[in-house]
Point group: D2
Chain length 372, copies 4
């Protein structure tokens, strides 16, 4: 049965998100890592050598380590697309997850090269999030946005390749709760969001320990804009072959870095755009929330995408981030807001649901829809 798995490649395979992909794909029922590319200094080394002394995933944690066959893969130079094309021909790289850590322009151009070479790219990078025909996918929320792929391919003249991206990790905790409410007839008009984000979001070495012992940092470059704008594209629609943003909700974000390894927490005050559900209704809506990943039983889908905890001091990153394979959003403290309608606290695992796990779920969606 092994032989029938879809062979996948990882771009940026030795970085932190790349390692997370390798870990989460160990024993994946549909996909198997057969190709790994990284910066020139890793190229030519066996994967196990390339990450020696730089492997950041805790052993035997949620994610396994990498399988032996992955350790023996010889890492390629990610800049050399012809290597991936050759691997594709040999049946070793049907598509790639991109966890490239380059400049925006370099990433943008390189991902297009892969697509042009016939290799679909499911990207964690932010480079193409505002490209008008590239979908920003959250599998439960906007699976239909994947249907821009034929348009995208046609526009570029790409026969087999295409590009999809995932949104910023900071919005994962509030997008599904918002979507659940909107789908039940209670769209949000305005929200003020305060995030307390984990250091793993900045990669390795990322944030200095001198900034994270007995301290918080009330600023993360570019994060507030992403937290405010990306939801509008995800809630938007395809019109005339390009994405048109939703007009609401209006979001104001304060993004803070806190001394937490994994798990972004957000405190949200929300005003509805129209009628207002009761707190009881909201909890019922969240508990019942399901999307295509659940309906079609994708391997990486959380059984319950939104988990509500009644204890007054939850969610907490260390205790709740791993809920349901670290793919669920955990919410708590729903109560009336003194200024808007409601307020609550929501948590999502930033390197799993917000990065590699979310990318894998997108790939599962794309396979289900026949694009892979």
């Amino acid at each position: 049965m092994e032989l029938e798995k879809i062979p996948v490649g990882i771009l940026g395979a030795t970085g932190m998100v790349g390692q997370q992909y390798i870990s989460l794909l160990n024993n994946h029922p549909w996909f198997e890592v057969r190709y790994a590319a990284a910066s020139p200094r890793s190229a030519g080394k066996k994967y196990s050598e390339a990450v020696y002394g730089r492997w950041h995933i805790a052993s035997n944690a949620l994610a396994a380590n990498y399988a032996d066959h992955v350790g023996n893969i010889v890492v390629e130079d990610a800049n050399d697309v012809s290597r991936a094309a050759a691997a594709f021909k040999k049946g070793n790289c049907s598509f790639v997850f991109s966890a490239l850590e380059m400049s925006k322009d370099e990433t943008s151009a390189l991902e297009e090269e892969y697509a042009a070479a016939g290799i679909p790219v499911i990207s964690n990078a932010s480079a193409h999030r505002w490209t008008s025909d590239v979908p920003v996918l959250i599998a439960e929320i906007n699976p239909d946005h994947a249907d821009i792929i034929p348009i995208q391919k046609k526009k570029h003249g790409w026969e087999r390749g295409f590009i999809t991206v995932k949104p910023n990790c900071s919005i994962q905790s509030y997008m599904k709760p918002l979507h659940a409410l909107a789908a039940a007839g209670y769209p949000a008009r305005r929200l003020i969001v305060n995030t307390m984000q984990a250091v793993s979001g900045a990669g390795y070495p990322g944030v200095s320990s001198l900034d994270m012992i007995d301290n918080i940092v009330p600023y993360i470059g570019g994060e507030e804009e992403k937290s405010e704008n990306e939801p509008l594209k995800i809630f938007g629609s395809i019109e005339s072959g390009v994405f048109k943003n939703a007009e609401l909700p209006q979001i104001s974000a304060h993004c803070n870095r806190v001394p937490v390894v994994d798990g972004h927490t957000a405190c949200i005050s929300l005003e509805f755009d129209g009628k207002k559900p009761s707190l009881g209704e909201i909890k019922a809506i969240w508990a019942a929330y399901k999307g295509l990943p659940q309906d079609a039983d994708f391997p990486s889908a959380p059984k319950q995408p939104i988990i509500y905890r009644e204890e007054n001091d939850r969610p907490q990153p260390r205790k709740d981030r791993d809920a349901d394979k670290a793919m669920a959003v955990v919410i708590g403290r729903l109560r009336p807001c003194n200024v808007f309608d409601i307020r609550f606290t929501a948590l999502s695992h930033n390197t799993v649901r917000g990065a590699a796990g979310g990318g894998i779920l997108s790939a599962e969606l794309l396979k289900y829809k026949g694009y892979l």
Copy 2:
């Protein structure tokens, strides 16, 4: 000159806030600690013995340790008001700072006993914050609220004693900026506040380390209500001998505990009640802000009560909490809000400005006004 200092007592002298009082009053030009009371288990011991192995103030930090004469004070039982009355007669206790750590009802009753016995009480406890004739003082903002003291004394038949309190530490970071703006003609209508509060706010042992390593806790019992309501009393007025709350601003608070030793940080989104100043005007207003403590040059007054930092990643608790003897508010990140008018981040040292330092500043105000 030593002899002319006002002799003061500390109730709850061995606890965390009590220790902070002892430290900050070392070499104070107006006050000298001559009386210390605590729980019965400390009573009868020399102060130095009572805090042996439990002294939490870092040596040679901002605050000094305690003077030798304080170490030799024999601790009294705080429940025995007659001891304080006797000390008063001997000239050793002209008034007390209360840092009692009892239940609300016990504290409330005991502080009244001290007042009835002729000992003015400047309290850090929350017990009397909503007593209608007890002022909640922030020396820069509502020094005139002290003028309810004669009414309070008369009502209770107290000849010399009275009670004043300080507000909750969580509001210190945003009260002065709001007051400065209101005083300049720009009152706030609504604000949504997200606090990230230091563990010292919970006393010792307080918050478990298991909750503060690789974690945050999105809940502090009672803190959100205090953060929303106390500002209305402080911005209120004396009418018919009691305090009448202000009607605005409407505040919605999310209070979180984060792994920081000292320094409460707040992220604020604010809507003005009427005309809106430019960002430049706001910075100018904050820079020029002064109150009675500055005008009259009180010993514990920060020279500049509001410090604005232009760097995009400030204020940070570890780097900014000690600004101007830990008595200033440090603000940064002023920018337009996507939902309200403006947003910014503000920081205040919770155990100095928000506790013992704030209490001492109130005492300086009361002495200046002739109430001590």
Copy 3:
């Protein structure tokens, strides 16, 4: 097949170690939790209610949460041994794991009462560690010490009950490496050990966050004595029906508390008692080390009890504590010592291998040997 599992009880079921037992025993192939006892204030509540708001195990971490049937168990008063005896008669409590958090004398007496009532006690408490006929078991090292059980039973006139204990969590990281070397003919004469211990070792709330942010504490009450003396009993022998301590190795321990959630790290300098192996030999000895748990394939046995990592900066608590179900010791940095013969760093998970996991492995040993 469910029905054939051995029904077990947990004393102190709502505490931190008790919760760890409940988690680790979820889906255990041999044992099933059917009885839970705790302090009087939990007695009478369903287990799920008793731990509501106080459940410390991260969801979906290594350990699962508890099964539904455990949540529905009505908690009994641990002081009332007759309840356990009744549960035994009903087939719900064949033996107990003791995670009692009482004084040493109370624990000692109560555990004896359970044994006298016919309920074998596998204890995490330290009360009986120096009782002359109670074995301190580490399943790989001294499985034969269990054979004092018939002597113990006879001495007390206990028909079915008996008591075994596990050693202190601080010694787990160096006992197996020492045993492996001694078994290969290289016993240690002297060692100087420096531990850096996790806060979970102190239970909940345990260590104050004020002591663990930007700080370490160079003292843990009683820990150094345990770290020095318990190894001598474990390496000792049964003579005339009681344990006789080994004479070596001589150990000097410095025990420190550090801001780590789980995982005790020890730095060890060691002098051999006689001939000295090469570093290569030592690594080979450790890699080949196996004991009865591995030979008999106990469910909780790590496949490789000692894992050596070649990277120069390992083991690290966060990355290595969970190795092999958190039951393995992870070692690194083996190098010559400038003063003794060798030095190295070793790590063990204190609440799994060092507490509940170690207790379960002992129970597996006792069942294998026919004592349960």
Copy 4:
């Protein structure tokens, strides 16, 4: 009187140790910063601009911020020695503190260039620690080592310039206690040292926060060798114009990085070389310990170089590192060692006593001796 202060320069003025120098020299009675040099990217900027957004010293902490005149100094390129020579001629740079962060070879060569250009160099870098005629100074221990300076100058043909260095920060906590004992007739033969070192020792950004949340790292490159060997040079003597190492004590060091901002803690087991003092004698020896800095009352000298605390859980980095201007060593837990003679725990502030403060104290020594 200002005009009579000796004008000093800082090499590497914008880095972490450079900033510490600037802070500690604010209002220094003998020295005044008039020259600042750093990497080419800072050259040409005003100092206040060069460190904007990168100033790491907490405001109003022990150290002040920098004086206005320092903020206005135009930073020079540290590689261009002619700039310093010109500043010397103008009376702005009588000598330099070197906090260069270059490779060992580059630092070594550049510091020699400064010396050759007539600028004495008091260096924090490790480059020249093993140069046979460069003294490694701890002002209390080996002030006479400064007397190699004339020999050094003569050998190189330097008329005015010379080089001195300070030892590694990891040894500061145990060198003075060892010296005190040796001076009292109780030299140490062997010691095993375990350090738990603060992250500021690695500079900024230095250690990743991902390695310091819920974690420790049992390795610091090169640190153990320095901790073992540098003491032998410091305890050594000048023979035939070069330093000859002492033969004892033999030291074995385990160096660990822990989540502490400032303050290196060491646990020490010690064997005496000959007669053994009682614990009481040792405490008396430490309490009475003084050196030239105390006798001659140098401005940066701690009044009591060794402070012993009787509490069983001290020293702790956060509470004790700032003792006596952060220039004292704080010791606790003196007790018999189970393997050697005694054991104890010692703490020293690594960026003050172990870096800039130690350098300034050396400069005070050199001025006192007439070398500056």
